[in-house]
């Protein structure tokens, strides 16, 4: 295709096939980048040497003699099928996780930033050490992909990379990202040293090194370590708490997360579930209550659902102010029985008689009367109400209800 294009058949022996991270969003930007690379590759993969010549002159990156746009356009061209397959695989493994963590805008920003830096650093190293190779065009997305790998190492250092040792061996292994990615970087660095010493391999190793350093450095400048630490705790909490045994690490991680975000209902809920897994512990109860209280503000329906879970484990009620709201939600959700049970427990609990207790009595009576058609039980609650709250502003209403109920009962 051209005289000596620097191609990057990434990972010949150790091939990454995935990571152990789960995605929250579909990686649109990564797919778009892959699509663009292939769309550009397919029409130019034939032997159209007259086109190739112009492309290599005006669109590949030629450090010694180039227009600025070539720094970007060179990233989208590939020399052959193996080249684009290798790069696509690496992008598909590392890109989605990085995009998921950063969001598509920052992801694309860093992709182009590291890709351009990779081409510049590649050119600078050749400018310093092997000037006669400054005119050799370089092409491929590997510099930008190395940048993505640098970002991945910074942001997802806690994850594991699934590796295939050889294309034809049936087994796969999982290695921590903080081990395998620096090893890849070291391999590229040594390759770069070799290329300076004239042991050429037709691979732009300095572009890989440059991209990786740019990606890692940009993350450091953007202080991604704060999010990275948090994401690690979330990841540990999520994965460890799902295990049958040995979830203590998850509990610790969730507690650490709570220190920085004490009003996060999900964290309280996760911790509550973990702490109540074997037996109903006071700590579990405490976190359930906190989760329900916080959810009542953000997602009342979920709060009611969590309360059902809580009730099954603890047969317990919350403070009157919350319990009254929960009971109303439960009755709205047609879980009248639990609404009644919880209100009845509250009414019989002997808690200080405040407006919420007043409300609890009224609600309970109303559900008995209208929800269950048990006027006798409603009457009993109204009577209790009059005894407990003789000066209540609802006294008139209760007496009226009692009167009409008595009529109904007598008739």
């Amino acid at each position: 295709m051209n005289r000596n294009a620097r191609i990057t058949p990434e990972g010949v022996k150790v091939i990454p096939v995935g990571t152990n991270l789960n995605l929250k969003n579909f990686p649109w930007a990564t797919i778009a980048l892959l699509f663009t690379n292939w769309i550009i590759f397919i029409p130019f993969s034939g032997n159209f040497y007259w086109i190739d010549f112009w492309i290599s002159q005006y669109l590949f990156s030629v450090p010694g003699d180039q227009y600025p746009w070539q720094l970007i356009t060179g990233m989208f061209f590939h020399a052959d099928l193996l080249h684009i397959l290798g790069n696509s695989l690496f992008l598909l493994v590392f890109g989605p996780s990085v995009e998921d963590k950063l969001g598509w805008k920052d992801y694309l920003f860093l992709y182009f930033l590291t890709g351009i830096s990779a081409n510049l650093i590649h050119g600078m190293m050749y400018g310093f050490f092997v000037r006669e190779e400054l005119f050799i065009p370089s092409l491929g997305a590997s510099g930008a992909i190395s940048g993505v790998m640098g970002v991945y190492l910074y942001r997802c250092y806690y994850s594991k990379i699934k590796l295939m040792i050889d294309l034809f061996l049936p087994f796969r292994i999982k290695l921590p990202a903080f081990i395998i990615l620096p090893l890849w970087f070291a391999r590229d660095f040594m390759g770069g040293i070799d290329s300076i010493r004239g042991i050429g391999q037709n691979v732009a190793f300095w572009a890989h090194v440059g991209g990786f350093v740019a990606g890692f450095g940009a993350c450091r400048y953007l202080h991604y370590e704060i999010q990275a630490r948090r994401e690690k705790l979330e990841f540990v909490a999520q994965t460890s708490l799902q295990q049958y045994g040995g979830y203590g690490e998850g509990i610790e991680a969730t507690k650490k997360l709570l220190e920085s975000d004490p009003e996060n209902p999900e964290l309280h809920l996760n911790l509550a579930r973990a702490e109540s897994r074997s037996w109903s512990s006071p700590k579990g109860r405490e976190h359930y209550e906190k989760a329900i209280k916080l959810l009542l503000e953000k997602d009342p329906e979920k709060a009611a659902e969590v309360y059902i879970e809580y009730w099954k484990k603890y047969f317990s009620i919350l403070e009157p102010s919350y319990q009254v709201r929960l009971s109303l939600l439960l009755s709205k959700m047609s879980n009248v029985n639990l609404a009644v049970q919880s209100l009845q427990t509250l009414v019989d609990s002997g808690r200080p008689l405040d407006i919420y207790m007043e409300q609890a009595h009224l609600n309970l009576a109303k559900i008995y009367d209208q929800g269950l058609g048990r006027a006798d039980l409603a009457q009993h609650v109204y009577e209790k109400f009059l005894k407990k709250f003789p000066g209540s502003k609802h006294r008139g209403f209760v007496e009226k209800m009692l009167h009409s109920n008595q009529k109904g009962v007598n008739s």
Binding site: R3, N47, Y49, W50, F53, P63, G64, D65, P68, L71, D106, F109, L113, I116, S117, L120, I121, G123, M124, Y126, G127, F128, R131, E132, L134, F135, A218, Y221, L222
Partner: protein
């Protein structure tokens, strides 16, 4: 505008973009290539696409080579405008010589072969091989454009000396990479006594030729600094082999006006070099670099040299033997060609 600036200036993303611009600026300074470098690249592209045409087996490949050659030709002529006419060899030579480079082109089987190399030293020498000859020589270093044979066969080809139109070329790069390689491995392996050089035939040959230098650098470790040691080793070793190369060059100068075939000429030069200034390393390298000549006389000459100087049994080979055998084979091929 101010609002936009107020938004942009504190943004870390904007800072990264500024950093990228700075990197671009630095890169422009470092990767800036002079007009001369562009000319060299244009010439390189032209010569190598010409080799590609020459080397191509299929018409498609040939057409591609021709297309590239044409494009590089256009590029070269526009770059060279005002400096030289690239069709005029003398003008091209004068231009490159003013920059310390030798340019040469010659015909091999009606096709062009090119050479562009750094000139390390130029001078005139008198020699007896046994004919007395005075010749101009150039010691060439790094090759920017290699002759067709080297292009085709890569590192398998090791040409110590060759004949130009007027001068004889001594090729330093025929030994330098090898010397660097051996320096590297010996420096790391830290031999303590002579027997540690007996690893393989070539290391042993090098040791026999460069005993003092090897003792000095690797055993006694007079140099602590690796770079200084390497420089000293390569320069001193080259000085040891240079007389043999000069003898080869002298033979080429004598044969310059003859109508000998190039491979026959090279065989004669090698035999002369080894007979007048024998050394183990070059003998080994000459014997090992197989010649696929179509000329039966040349093939026979190489074969005999290989058989009689079987360097696998190194200790049986002495400098006298190398000299004597080379002389005998030289006489034999000389007589065969004249009869």
């Amino acid at each position: 505008m101010r609002k936009i600036l107020r938004k942009i200036i504190p943004s870390k993303h904007a800072h990264l973009c500024f950093g990228l611009f700075a990197l671009y600026g630095i890169s422009l300074l470092i990767t800036h290539t002079s007009h001369f470098e562009k000319i060299v690249d244009g010439l390189k592209g032209y010569c190598y696409s010409d080799y590609k045409v020459r080397n191509s087996l299929f018409s498609e490949e040939r057409m591609e080579g021709e297309f590239y050659r044409e494009k590089y030709e256009e590029r070269l002529s526009s770059l060279a405008e005002g400096f030289f006419d690239y069709h005029d060899k003398k003008e091209v030579q004068a231009f490159f010589m003013s920059k310390g480079l030798l340019y040469d082109e010659w015909q091999e089987k009606n096709r062009n072969s090119y050479l562009l190399a750094q000139v390390i030293e130029k001078g005139r020498r008198k020699a007896e091989v046994p004919e007395e000859v005075i010749f101009d020589y150039l010691i060439l270093g790094d090759k920017k454009i290699v002759p067709f044979l080297e292009y085709k066969k890569g590192q398998q080809v090791r040409i110590f000396a060759s004949a130009g139109e007027k001068e004889v070329y001594i090729h330093k790069d025929s030994l330098e990479p090898l010397l660097l390689w051996y320096f590297e491995s010996l420096w790391v392996s830290k031999p303590k006594e002579p027997k540690h050089f007996y690893n393989d035939t070539l290391t042993y040959s090098l040791y026999r030729d460069l005993q003092d230098i090897c003792n000095h650098i690797f055993i006694k470790r007079f140099y602590l600094n690796k770079q200084n040691a390497q420089g000293y080793f390569v320069e001193e070793a080259f000085k040891v082999f240079l007389p043999t190369m000069f003898a080869m060059g002298a033979r080429m100068a004598v044969d310059q006006d003859s109508n000998f075939q190039s491979d026959y000429q090279y065989l004669r030069a090698c035999l002369t070099g080894l007979s007048l200034n024998p050394n183990y390393t070059m003998a080994y390298l000459i014997i090992r670099s197989s010649s696929n000549s179509y000329n039966p006389l040349v093939r026979k000459g190489w074969e005999e040299l290989r058989q009689r100087l079987d360097i696998t049994y190194s200790d049986e080979i002495t400098l006298d033997k190398i000299s004597k055998v080379s002389q005998e084979i030289f006489e034999k091929v000389k007589n065969s060609s004249t009869h």
